[in-house]
């Protein structure tokens, strides 16, 4: 099938996915705080209320716990629901409906129950917002059996993964990052899916494997391009889905390169980077020519001060430095 392409931003790719989904399937409902607002969820929900009305696109009071449970109730009653949390820090109010309820619902009644629920949390860091407006909490959700967690790094995947998440019959945590919202790319105009559970090699290489996702993947690509000029060829993997993790692709790459750097823009301890490191030590230890390295945030809350923010967040330069250290 040949697809018509349009160059659009990451946030408008999500917007396009939502428009096409809601238009094509009468059972889809979007709800959450700010879907009517011009700023809360960026322009991801642009014109949705105007196009589809307040029955299908519901702006809600700040009641994250109830609203997420309502999303689950909609899903159990045959709708496909997307609940948006414009700052994922507020999503912590919804831990009960996400973890106790949605994640367990199919298992605890012995299967056969569809839970077509997308819980969409936006990471909203930077800009001196401080500890409670900056957290990247995907590690918590990845720990929970019954949840899928996706984190697109570019407009193409953002649209395709949102569509896959909506059509999945399990609860999917869709996490994007405001730092990606202006990133532009050619995206097919049609509805298409990016499979959940599949990672992708974005740069083929031989010297080291760099694993990352979302915003950090783009830093890894920039780092890789610069390293190429110095004769170093990293293999860069975009996880796209955190859970279920594409273990096969990671292991295959590490067995080829013999080295692994995990660049993960969240906390180091007990997180996604720990899981990937454990995966490799359990299954590919003998292939390693150097110890696995992890480049993560400090185990500290996000600071407000922009000077401290610069020290806190990771960039391509940190990746380049770390790769050179490993290859020394």
């Amino acid at each position: 099938m040949s697809l018509t392409k349009n160059k659009i931003s990451y946030s408008l790719a999500i917007n396009q996915a939502l428009i096409q989904l809601i238009k094509s399937d009468g059972s889809i409902v979007l709800l959450g705080q700010g879907v009517k607002s011009p700023w809360y969820v960026g322009n991801t929900s642009r014109d949705l209320v105007k196009r589809f009305g307040e029955k299908r696109v519901i702006d809600t009071p700040v009641s994250e716990n109830a609203v997420t449970g309502i999303g689950l109730g909609l899903a159990l009653a045959g709708s496909r629901a997307v609940v948006v949390h414009p700052r994922m820090d507020f999503m912590l109010y919804a831990m009960d409906p996400i973890i106790n309820q949605a994640a367990n619902w199919n298992y605890m009644y012995g299967g056969g129950i569809k839970v077509p629920l997308v819980i969409w949390g936006i990471i909203n860091r930077g800009g001196e917002q401080g500890a409670q407006h900056s957290q990247a909490l995907y590690g918590i959700f990845s720990h929970i059996p019954g949840l899928k967690v996706v984190m697109p790094s570019n407009p193409y995947d953002a649209k395709g993964l949102m569509i896959s998440a909506v059509y999945d019959n399990n609860p999917v945590i869709f996490i994007d990052d405001r730092w990606l919202y202006n990133l532009e790319q050619e995206v097919p105009e049609e509805i298409y899916r990016v499979p959940i559970g599949k990672a992708e090699i974005k740069r083929e290489g031989k010297d080291i494997t760099i694993v990352s996702a979302s915003y950090m993947l783009n830093e890894s690509l920039k780092a890789s391009d610069e390293l190429n000029k110095k004769g170093i060829y990293p293999e860069v993997i975009d996880l796209k889905t955190i859970k279920p993790l594409d273990a096969d692709l990671i292991l295959k790459s590490v067995k080829k390169t013999g080295r692994l750097l995990i660049a993960d823009a969240s906390w180091k301890s007990f997180g996604v980077s720990s899981e990937i490191s454990a995966l490799v030590s359990e299954n590919a230890l003998s292939s390693l020519k150097a110890p696995v390295k992890r480049l993560c945030l400090y185990d500290a809350p996000a600071p407000a001060s922009s000077q401290l923010e610069k020290a806190y967040y990771l960039t391509k330069d940190d990746i380049i430095r770390e790769v050179k250290n490993i290859l020394k």
């Binding site: 609203v67 449970g69 309502i70 109730g73 009653a77 298992y107 009644y109 012995g110």
Partner: protein
């Protein structure tokens, strides 16, 4: 009230009573291990409310859910098998007493996180409203749930969107061990709905006829966009918080005054409807005894089914983590 309704109510309430008594007996014998929150003394609420509903109406329930399940038409054998955590249970042995379901009867699931299913009932009601279907959604919860913030979020949202939803609070005066006067400054729970403009009733939760009438009225209101409706049913659990009595966990753990328990037993909802049937000469006691024997037989058969059912297979431990469809 039709005579046949009275008999139907009595049969359903007695079925729940005998089921729960049998369950309690099996707990004491050690045959049942899953924690069971028995609803002995509260049968009128389940039967009164569910009798006012149709099969297509949704019910979401809590930890004390056996009565709701049976009153909504759930299969008794599958329920007992689930309590035995067997493969033939309504949740294939994965749920136990606290996670039961009968979706084919509109019983959408029970779960024990206090107030945890209230918002789910809202979501189902919202789905009905969006699809403009003439059905309602019911949320059963206890007085303990009034300590949870999500209940107030749910009252606000459901009133804001005028959802076809009936909140049914079974006020049995105790939140696990803690008496209601130690949980709330004002024990009149129905009042919490009023600031949201929700029509609220406080009724005798041991009077099945009153509950049925109120639930019917509530459903009618919901169907003409006058929902949600809040019903507080004043009742009492005659058994322990978990298990047949609170002594099974160790010596003499029932903190409730003996006189209080005895006083409520005099208001027993099952005896009340039975006496009414005799007083009104709906059926003579001989015929009632025949019905009672049949119900005992039904419970006994459920027990036999559960006991003789196969256990879950170890190799299927991961089977239902994700829906593969």
């Amino acid at each position: 009230m039709k005579k046949s309704d009275l008999i139907k109510f009595y049969k359903q309430m007695l079925l729940i009573r005998r089921f729960e008594e049998k369950t309690g007996e099996l707990i004491l014998k050690g045959e049942i291990k899953t924690p069971c929150h028995l609803c002995i003394g509260q049968e009128a609420v389940a039967v009164g409310v569910c009798s006012a509903l149709d099969k297509q109406d949704y019910v979401f329930s809590n930890h004390r859910g056996h009565g709701h399940y049976l009153a909504k038409g759930g299969d008794i054998k599958k329920l007992m098998a689930e309590i035995f955590c067997k493969e033939t249970g309504c949740s294939y042995g994965r749920g136990g007493s606290m996670h039961i379901i009968a979706r084919e009867q509109g019983f959408m699931g029970s779960a024990p996180i206090v107030a945890g299913t209230v918002s789910l009932a809202l979501g189902a009601a919202l789905a009905l409203k969006i699809k403009m279907e003439k059905r309602v959604s019911v949320s059963f919860f206890g007085d303990g749930a009034t300590g949870e913030g999500v209940l107030y979020e749910s009252l606000n949202f459901s009133a804001l969107k005028k959802l076809p939803l009936i909140f049914v609070c079974e006020n049995n005066l105790y939140s696990t061990h803690l008496p209601i006067r130690e949980c709330r400054p004002d024990i009149g729970i129905f009042k919490i709905a009023q600031p949201f403009g929700i029509k609220a009733f406080q009724i005798d939760g041991n009077d099945v006829l009153k509950i049925y009438e109120t639930a019917k009225k509530a459903k009618k209101m919901c169907l003409v966009s006058k929902g949600p409706v809040f019903i507080e049913c004043l009742t009492y659990r005659q058994s322990g918080h978990v298990g047949p009595n609170d002594r099974i966990q160790s010596e003499n753990k029932d903190i409730r005054p003996k006189r209080e328990v005895e006083a409520w037993k005099k208001k027993d909802p099952v005896k009340r409807i039975r006496n009414l049937i005799i007083d009104k000469k709906v059926l003579e006691s001989q015929k009632l005894e025949k019905i009672e024997k049949e119900i005992e037989k039904e419970v006994e058969e459920a027990y036999k089914f559960a006991k003789s059912s196969p256990i879950c297979k170890k190799e299927e431990i991961n089977k239902y983590v994700f829906n593969q469809e």
